[in-house]
């Protein structure tokens, strides 16, 4: 009898059963197994399952048209699909959740700085990439097109925009604002609003120190979706109280294989009141209505939505905003029943 013990639920045991341990660690586990019939049983079961997994997945490959056809034959696609046969990894949703799909006229490329380069000196800038391409100056796409370029606005940061601009710090939203919905609600006006924000904050944020790092709130389950692509410290930085919003620009140069991200954090404690214009006001109203209807917020928020949407109604040339306000009032009446 030795004093080595291991739980049957220890990942080390699975690694041992699958032959993944170094000889030294494997020897340690073998000693521990002498003390635990349960652990020995677990190892046996894991090895049986591993054999079954290999058999099942090998057989699946043989019966899978992708694997079963010659490499240069077209893959058979069924008119009657087979849900569950292929379950793609949902990285696309991670990207969608993390991003607003606004096309940008800003991109990276070119060997030298263009005379039309967007000024960036006043903006906190972080390269988040393992790509090997050297960092370039900003140029305009029409002058220096890239293979791909897209931008994002990080959601937690944009939620803070709504806090600061529209609620005057009275209440923080409980959920994370889906900027893509916001873009749907007001595009292309939102784009113009954000361009104005960028221009003003480039001036306002000059000389500001970087955001402090705050702990990641444990109850923000939605952030965990991003664990694979962003570290918690990155997320924490984004939700730091002094970060107003973040633009992320993803780009891939034509002859470079790995896409890269650049992130611009717009940091300022002072938000010009003129930014809270009718467009962003109405967009926030539309988004909040969506949250209410998903029961993310309480029904008492209807009044706030009506207030915002009336304030952001503007000229309402096509009467759609007026219809929206009527819709919210009907929803409020229904919720009260």
């Amino acid at each position: 009898m030795n004093n080595h013990f291991i739980s049957p639920d220890d990942p080390l045991l699975t690694a041992y059963a699958l032959g993944e341990l170094s000889p030294e660690r494997a020897a340690w586990v073998e000693e521990a197994l002498k003390n635990s019939p349960e652990a020995r049983q677990a190892v046996e079961e894991i090895r049986i399952l591993a054999a079954d997994l290999e058999g099942a997945l090998a057989q699946e490959a043989l019966n899978d048209p992708i694997g079963g056809h010659a490499a240069n034959e077209p893959v058979a696609t069924s008119a009657a699909p087979s849900p569950g046969r292929v379950v793609p990894f949902p990285y696309v949703w991670v990207g969608t959740l993390a991003a607003a799909c606004l096309a940008m006229v800003i991109a990276l490329n070119g060997p030298d700085s263009s005379p039309t380069a967007v000024p960036t000196a006043s903006v906190a800038q972080t390269t988040v990439s393992s790509g090997a391409a050297p960092e370039k100056h900003f140029v305009r796409v029409p002058n220096s097109p890239l293979a791909t370029a897209a931008s994002e606005i990080q959601q937690p940061s944009f939620a803070r925009v709504r806090d600061s601009l529209l609620e005057d710090g009275r209440r923080r939203p409980r959920g994370v604002l889906r900027v893509d919905r916001l873009a749907d609600a007001s595009d292309p006006h939102l784009r113009a609003t954000l361009s104005g924000l960028l221009a003003q904050q480039e001036t306002a944020a000059a000389g500001e120190p970087p955001s402090e790092i705050l702990p990641l709130p444990e109850d923000r389950a939605d952030h965990r979706l991003f664990d694979d692509i962003r570290s918690k410290s990155e997320i924490a930085r984004e939700i730091a109280s002094r970060e107003l919003l973040t633009f992320k620009i993803n780009f891939k140069e034509p002859k470079v294989d790995v896409a890269r991200d650049l992130r611009f954090s717009l940091i300022t404690p002072d938000v010009p009141s003129s930014i809270g214009n009718s467009e962003s006001m109405f967009a926030a109203a539309a988004d909040t209505l969506d949250s209410i209807l998903r029961e993310a917020y309480g029904s008492t928020e209807y009044d706030q939505v009506i207030s915002w949407s009336e304030a952001g109604k503007g000229e309402d040339a096509d009467s759609r905003r007026g219809e929206f306000i009527d819709l919210v009032k009907k929803a409020r009446a229904l919720s009260a029943e």
Binding site: P11, Q59, A71, V75, Y91, A99, T148
Partner: protein, 175 residues
């Protein structure tokens, strides 16, 4: 025949052998990442095009790992790009799924294997990916770590959780 020509032919043989050995598993892997078999083929083609530009010495000894890593990067690039530029269409994944097994082949599936495949399909996506890399493609924890950019311990935990769940659920299904 000069020395350069010999090296070129040697490189051509190397790539041809790589295509023969890895094209099918790479397409299968990319198809699961993207949900589209045709585009998966494009991804794999790009992967081999990149292989052609690599010095053989840089990839020899870890060719499979290199190919899966490049393939994964390209597939995720596509997803990221399309996630922004085109809203993902609901149901698209199902429409581009592979077809049912060829007639007669279905009978070859054992009940055990069928049950296991169904259970694998219920795992979280990241667990499915590492399980397939481990048990379908034969990669070690360390190799999976390099392909997926996860730590080795993270890979170990994902596989452990998946195996634990599969054991429990498979046992529960047994009479």
């Amino acid at each position: 025949m000069n020395r350069a020509t010999t090296q070129h032919e040697h490189a051509g043989d190397f790539v041809r052998a790589a295509v023969a050995d890895y094209q099918t598993p790479l397409i299968r892997y990319a198809a699961r990442l993207i949900g589209d078999a045709d585009r998966a083929r494009d991804v794999v083609q790009d992967t081999f095009v990149k292989l052609m530009s690599q010095p053989i010495a840089d990839v020899q000894g870890h060719l499979a790992e290199w190919l899966f890593t490049v393939c994964r990067h390209r597939a995720l690039d596509i997803l990221r790009k399309e996630g922004r530029m085109k809203r993902f269409e609901e149901g698209q994944m199902e429409r581009v799924s592979t077809a049912e097994p060829r007639p007669g082949k279905a009978l070859e599936y054992s009940e055990t294997h069928e049950a296991i495949l169904r259970l694998i399909g219920t795992l979280p996506a990241n667990q499915q990916e590492v399980i397939r890399l481990k048990f379908q493609n034969g990669f070690s924890y360390k190799e999976i770590s390099r392909i997926t950019a996860l730590s080795v311990s993270h890979v170990g935990v994902l596989i452990h959780h998946a195996v634990t769940r599969l054991r429990a659920e498979f046992a529960a299904q047994q009479p």
